[in-house]
């Protein structure tokens, strides 16, 4: 327990002074209040560990203050101070939640023991509160961060869903953490010792997607000189996660539906049926019902994969998590970039709160990464996030670059701007690893400058 704060409420100056005098000699941080009203005012400004409260005061009785304070400061322990003859009121006060009472004047030893006892009690209460909070509110679930109640509920759902083997459809906007949720389900499921295989269906042209998923035999197509296992096969025993399931062409939906129903498949160009056993999780940000109506998604496939549906809320609907996520990413990128950036200023946080995050957690992650990479001090300020306020700029190069370096600089800048400073994506496009890209951004002093007109 840190510094101990005590409030002494008594209308009699000499009582206040002598009790405060003694408590101060104990090194406690003690404040006086000469009336009930003053006490309530102080309690608005500060939290106290211990409150000594006189029962008889002219403006507002100690009992009234006590009632009020049990609501406003439920964590403070209260000792009533009574004069000879008002013990009954003191007993009433104990029923209302006071911890103990002292009758003026008291034996010095009595006060010492009481203060010791109460501070010990206070410490226990705090530890218990802490433990309780930890049990009821885990802000980290697998790789997922979230303290908002919708996220807490989501964690509970994952916990339940993990144990059953049914297909799960995760729906939510881009960057809301759908893949992390799929991973969490896998990690919590009985298949956790098997592989987790993810594939983004939107990232492949049709023909490639098919071989990616199903694998192929030798000679299945020109250039297929070796047989290759597809993701379905690799996922055997574990979990197969298909992201952007809405992008799968109709024909392949039929093939996949059959795999799910028959639990076997054929490689491209193969005749043999290979049995597979995996848990199926898919995700989409598309409105599949609408896709069905437009004839772009098969109803039977939809019903097959949508046995359990999980809806992920967009970041703007859980803004209370922004600070937690921002801190989390700050730590991550601080480690990654080795830059001594430790804090996000209040101003900056306010800006992050006010922003709408169409790209959700991924966009926040990118914003923090970018701010860390470009930060000039230990604290990220509002200015470090000013790019959030600016309209996206269009690249228009005028003069041709001369040196190779200049070409590189411009190209990196162009790709960064195209990817909206998504470092991972930019790195991928540039064929660099992120660390190298970080270094180059630093070397060229790149940042997002909007150009007028």
């Amino acid at each position: 327990m840190g510094h101990i704060r005590i409030l002494v409420v008594d209308d009699e100056l000499i009582v206040r002074e002598s009790l405060i005098g003694w408590l101060k000699k104990g090194g406690y941080d003690v404040d006086p209040a000469s009336s009930g009203m003053e006490a309530l005012k102080r309690l608005k400004e500060k939290e106290y560990d211990l409150i000594f409260l006189d029962i008889k005061m002219p403006d507002m009785s100690g009992i009234e203050v006590l009632k009020n304070l049990k609501e406003s400061s439920p964590n403070s322990l209260v000792v009533m101070i009574t004069a000879y003859g008002s013990v009954e009121t003191a007993v009433e006060a104990m029923k209302l939640g006071a911890s103990d009472y002292l009758m003026k004047p008291f034996e010095p030893e009595h006060l010492v023991l009481l203060v010791e006892k109460l501070l010990q009690q206070k410490k226990l209460i705090e530890e218990n509160l802490f433990l309780k909070e930890q049990v009821s509110k885990r802000t980290k679930y697998q790789e997922l961060i979230g303290s908002a109640s919708c996220m807490q509920k989501l964690f509970e759902i994952i916990e339940e869903v993990a144990s059953v083997d049914s297909p799960v459809l995760i729906r939510g906007e881009t960057g809301t953490g759908k893949e992390l949720i799929a991973k969490a389900i896998h990690a919590k499921s009985p298949r956790r010792f098997g592989p987790f295989v993810a594939i983004n269906c939107g990232a492949f042209p049709e023909s490639l997607l098919e071989t990616e998923l199903f694998g192929h035999e030798v000679g299945a197509f020109t250039g297929a000189i070796r047989a290759r296992k597809g993701r379905i096969e690799i996922a055997h025993g574990g979990t197969l996660f298909l992201d952007e399931i809405g992008e799968i062409p109709l024909k392949m939906q039929v093939d996949l539906l059959r795999v799910l129903e028959e639990k076997r498949f054929q490689r491209v160009g193969g005749r043999e049926y290979i049995p597979v056993d995996f848990r199926f999780i898919s995700a989409t940000h598309k409105n599949l019902e609408e896709e069905i109506r437009l004839g772009r998604f098969r109803k039977d496939f939809y019903f097959r994969l949508n046995v359990i549906e999980i809806q992920v809320p967009p970041l703007r609907e859980r803004k209370e998590d922004i600070s937690l996520l921002a801190q989390h990413f700050l730590q991550k990128f601080r480690r990654e970039t080795n830059k001594p950036v430790t804090t996000i200023s209040k101003d900056a946080l306010n800006l992050l709160y006010s922003y709408d995050w169409p790209g959700n957690v991924r966009e926040l992650e990118n914003a923090i990464e970018r701010a860390v990479v470009l930060a000039k001090s230990r604290i990220l300020t509002k200015e470090d996030f000013s790019f959030l306020l600016r309209p996206k700029l269009l690249e228009n190069q005028v003069d041709e670059p001369k040196s190779l370096e200049e070409v590189e600089r411009r190209h990196i800048e162009k790709i960064l701007n195209e990817t909206d400073w998504n470092i991972s994506r930019a790195a991928k496009i540039l064929g660099l690893n992120r660390t190298t890209l970080h270094a180059k951004i630093k070397k060229y002093g790149l940042s997002h400058h909007p150009r007028t007109n």
């Binding site: 009582v15 002598s18 005098g21 101060k24």
Partner: protein, 183 residues
């Protein structure tokens, strides 16, 4: 009496007729332990206004205020008295001091006998007076109570606890005390 040293000096005042011996013993011990000049200022009468009729005790806080007037050239004035002292919230005190102030007081009243009223040796009695005096002077030098069982700054309102203390400050308190004395 006007030693011109750089160190703060402590003046001892008898409050009421106490004889010479007790102030001298206290002075010698303080000087020995704190290594500061100590002088015996003299004696004042027990201030009548400090008597609290309902409690038949003397107000220690008021005594401290009165002691302030006794001398201006001492950094700290320690009163020694034989009357029973109390403060508004406590039924009694062995001594009292202004935290970070100028004055302190010790009462021999409750130190003369054992916890059950039995007689005690003179040396135990003197030790008690010295311990309380040093404890209160510690407060004048802004020291808080200390949790160390073997430190004079431990709060002891019972004779048994007082007797089990050595006439010593713990290292930490002594360090703070010396630093505060020299600053």
């Amino acid at each position: 009496m006007d030693q011109q040293t750089n160190l703060p000096s402590i003046g001892i005042v008898s409050v009421g007729k106490l004889g010479n011996l007790i102030p001298r013993v206290v002075a010698a011990n303080i000087q020995g332990i704190l290594d500061v000049p100590v002088s015996i200022i003299g004696e004042i009468e027990i201030p009548e206004e400090t008597f609290i009729l309902e409690r038949r005790q003397y107000d220690a806080g008021l005594m401290l205020k009165i002691l302030e007037e006794v001398s201006t050239n001492h950094f700290c004035i320690l009163g020694v008295t034989y009357v029973d002292l109390c403060i508004p919230v406590f039924t009694y005190v062995f001594g009292e001091a202004q935290l970070g102030g100028r004055t302190a007081i010790v009462s021999t009243y409750r130190l003369q006998r054992g916890e059950l009223g039995e007689t005690i040796s003179e040396s135990v009695f003197y030790e008690r007076v010295v311990k309380v005096a040093l404890h209160e002077i510690g407060h004048v030098f802004s020291l808080y109570h200390c949790e160390n069982e073997y430190c004079l700054m431990r709060f002891s309102s019972k004779l048994g606890a007082l007797d089990s203390l050595p006439i010593l400050f713990c290292d930490r308190c002594l360090f703070l005390l010396k630093r505060l004395i020299r600053s």
